[in-house]
Symmetry: D5
Subunit: 154 residues, 10 copies
């Protein structure tokens, strides 16, 4: 099986080279086959990890990305490799979350995009970061992300 809109893809189905940094990672995109309607695509990435820029110790986050595609869809394997490329990258929680979203915005030119970054606790206090490109577009359905709150123990 194949699909002509995917004929340019380099990483899907071929040998994968793990990018060593976000800069090295190459996002790929395909034409949106349903570009005449406005819909929302959600990626849930519970396997995100980066490094603390001050101490070099690993940080972990559960990321959820929603976007309303314009002409392009992100190819999901290239997105996974891009997220994996933060493994040895140092960035603060706020900065890291927002910069992932902004790279996607620049590359996909979506009608709308948001990111929720739910970071594992440090010092007993988790940080969550929430950003969207602006008002939700009228008439498009964007459900709550619904991630449960942190409770400590008990």
């Amino acid at each position: 099986m194949s699909d002509t809109i995917y004929s340019n893809l380099k990483q899907l189905g071929g040998d994968t080279v793990q990018p060593r940094s976000p800069e090295e990672a190459e996002l790929e995109r395909v034409q949106n086959p349903q570009a005449d309607v406005a819909y929302n695509v959600r990626f849930t990435a519970p396997e995100f990890t980066s490094l603390c820029p001050m101490t070099g110790q690993p940080d972990f986050a559960h990321l959820v990305i929603d976007y309303v595609p314009g002409q392009w869809l992100v190819e999901s394997k290239s997105l996974k490799l891009y997220l994996t490329s933060f493994r040895n990258h140092g960035a603060f929680h706020e900065d890291c979350t927002i910069s992932i979203a902004r790279r996607l915005v620049g590359f996909l030119e979506p009608a709308w995009l948001r990111i929720g970054g739910y970071w594992y606790p440090r010092g007993g206090i988790p940080i969550d970061v929430f950003w969207q490109t602006g008002e939700m577009p009228e008439g498009v359905w964007i459900p709550d992300q619904g991630v449960p709150p942190y409770r400590g123990r008990g």
Copy 2:
């Protein structure tokens, strides 16, 4: 027992032939017996499966469809058979979810319709697809679909 608005139905209560493709599947409809009020009907289909168009491997999704009927209600057994007909059909997550919704829109001419496609994770990252035909109709009650977020493990 019988009901005249159902007298044209072919698949309900008779022998069922499993359609081999979405094209072959025949949706059926009955007149909406409460067509003078605007209400919402929700179908939850946790047993959806199709094939990946690139690799031929099976994909799975949990689908939830909401619609506000106009003159027609979809007959639920024909809907089930239609969904089952994707079993050997290759389609990407975004395309597959949206095309199911659009076929229902064309066939039922509902006042409003939306679909949530909650796909099982591949590469550790599930994709959800959300579409509706436009703004929710004024004064009609459409609750959240409330599907819990994917959490990985732990």
Copy 3:
């Protein structure tokens, strides 16, 4: 103990005769003792059952009814008996849910009413039916019904 607004009630506290059909069931109402404020009353009825009009087999539903009373409150025991009277009645999910709501609307003349009918799965796919009489009244508090989504197994 007694209460004059309840002095006309026939079924509450007396011998109960189980009505054999919705037509035979007699709803009762009392004057709303707080009719000068607009508030919402919710009934949750997880024990609803009726028959399939095509096959005669039992169907089950979890019903939730919200209403903003006008001059009348429904007496809860008569409501229970009315709901129980569907036990041997044949009706499709959509029709049955809406007709319960409409009988209450006609009898109580509420400021506003809605019903959520959460039907047990048939063919692996549950149907939910949602109706309200129109826009939620301004400034009245009507919380989500919050019924969890169907998940299949696992």
Copy 4:
């Protein structure tokens, strides 16, 4: 430790006399120390019980009260004693819930107040009662009460 705004309190920290009826219960109030901002205070009272006015049998409810204080805060121990005073009082669910809220409204003159009364099931059907004094005030944060729906068994 002490606090001058609390110097008039009679029941807090002293001997407590359990009031025998709602009429006998004495609510107390203190000046709102943050009266220049509009915020919401929520009390959750899962230990409410009263009597059925028809049969004299006990009823139970889980109550949640939200209010945006004006010049006064309710003193929490006096609120507890007031709620406890319904122990031998006969009142229907709708009437009882609304009258608690209205007494607080009269005594505290809040900017806004609402009550959710979640009553334990009788005849298999619980009743919930929801009231608020009017539109939520603009720009004040009033979260959902989030009480889970009744499910019967299973």
Copy 5:
């Protein structure tokens, strides 16, 4: 690794002196590296404790703070030390919750801020306190805090 916007920080990565009171605690801030977009930062602090000003006995709360930064981000370790400094401070629930929020507002000059204080029950009745600086800013994404309601036992 280091980062120039953090070069003024005194408490992060160095020896920590536990402040003995909120007055003694020193909040620190860094420049917002993404100040050209409006996003929300959430801190969840399930380890908050203070003293009752009337009896001197400990109180406990689960705090959640959301803010939309302007030019400044709060440094998270200094926030933790500030919250910890209430350990021997006497304050009522309403007063304590609001004053934490107001100190952050004065120090960070955020575009918007809110706090939810979920206090452990006393006398069987927990108090929750909710405040925000005003209407949510248009187009910024601020999810529900989603803390589950208190249920008593059972």
Copy 6:
């Protein structure tokens, strides 16, 4: 498709006649195709209803049946019709639950069987009934039924 061990079945795949009482209902059985190993089969029946023998009013239960088959498996459609046949049958909770189990024991001659009957509350107090034919057989895996406890409200 067919299967010779099923060639005697009368109700599966044919026209179904709803039995009017437990006595009239006909259970069917097929040979156990894996009779040389000891395994457990669990049926979960959340749609059970019968009548109260004193008042004639409907009762509801969630039933879970575990059995270790000997030479026979119960045919699931005939089990469903048998359970449905209690719809107009009067029986107390304890008696009804145990008699269902004993009929299955007599008909299937299983190596072991148990039933959990989780009845909806009456008078605010649900009754659960648990029975098994004796000690769990050694080395056979019988997981907990795991039905959550009844909580009232809140």
Copy 7:
């Protein structure tokens, strides 16, 4: 409908007089119709309340009682009235829970009985009391009571 084993019952189906104390409450029993097998009956009573013997203030508990009947079953309405009779009775948590169980043991002479008393928190710390008459009987199925642990807030 009637049933000869129930012909002696005084409170079920007749007028109910609420007993004013545990001593005044009259438990009733019927012959166990399935006395030749050993099974477990569970009552869940989330509406229990008594008074603190030191302060006279109300206490609340969620009670769960399991018993393996011998010759007698407790009639459930008389059990409800017995539990309700503690409404104005002073007793400590440990004493109250155990004495309920022992009265049932004396009256029913069951093969085995246990009680779990899950008391609402006082001073932030709930007390649970667990008692059984001795080892679980061999081969009888007694599932966990499964009441969730107390969590405070958050």
Copy 8:
């Protein structure tokens, strides 16, 4: 990277050919690198589907397999392909579940193995199938599978 114990693997990392039936599927195994200790490996497969042998309609199950390896570990990709090969295979729930387990037992010669098959409801009643090869081995840790019970709706 590579690993000599994996040098014989044919399907992992190479091109995958989807087997068309369980007979055609080829399981693969590797030497157990920790064969001197007894431990448990659990596979959770929520994406299982087969066909009903009577009607040809799809069935769905959530499968959980535990085994204590002897000399061999199953290679996980070959297990996935084996499970996928049931997609067009007709088998009853009991038979299908047990036969998967027995093929693994024959191929892996494990110290112990069990399977839990949690099938989606048909006719409102799900079937679960549980089998193990015999008593749990002494001193080996095998936790509960903990799959939540089916609840219907509400």
Copy 9:
């Protein structure tokens, strides 16, 4: 109301002096009024806090204590004050948890006792500590503590 077995109590109902250290805290006990049966008493204390002996920073824990009383019951207010007295005490998690249990063992001479200490995470990894005085006593009912596992985020 009073009770002679409580006539020696000093802290209950009188003025409370908060002890400044575990050594200063005075536990109190009363005679076990049901000393002729063996039952379990559980205290759940979600408000425990102490200090880290190395850094002086606060630690938090959710504690659950089960004990089977002999001749003595611990008076619950004195237990609360004892637990509160760790507020300014430095102790490691393992040491602190075990020493609380051992003091109770020495003071109460129970038939059996256990403690579960569920500590809030530090460095992303919570520690739980579990101790009991020995084998559970035969025939006494000691349910699981059932505290949910820590999940990080997502």
Copy 10:
């Protein structure tokens, strides 16, 4: 504050050097201050990540370790650094989980130890690995780890 049993620790409270491999990581231990009683210590590590030895792509796991200390306690910061050192290490799920446990067994010489490795899904199927050093020691309390099962979506 200090504690003589901790005087040899090198990594706690000092500068931390992140070890680059498991071999390089140095575990540290302190004398067990409660070595005369047998208790269980549980570490929950939801932030574990390693690499696939075949493809080099990251794997994620949620690890739970229980051990009954002998003469030694593991110092928790050194444990965290050891677990973090797998970040760039290639190992299969089964091998990796067991080898972590065995290194702890060799270093701590505990009375008993177990590990649960709950790996994130690959190919839609998560693997869990469970090992313990042998039978649970008599009379020591080791609760279930209670990690919820993987559910896919919906």
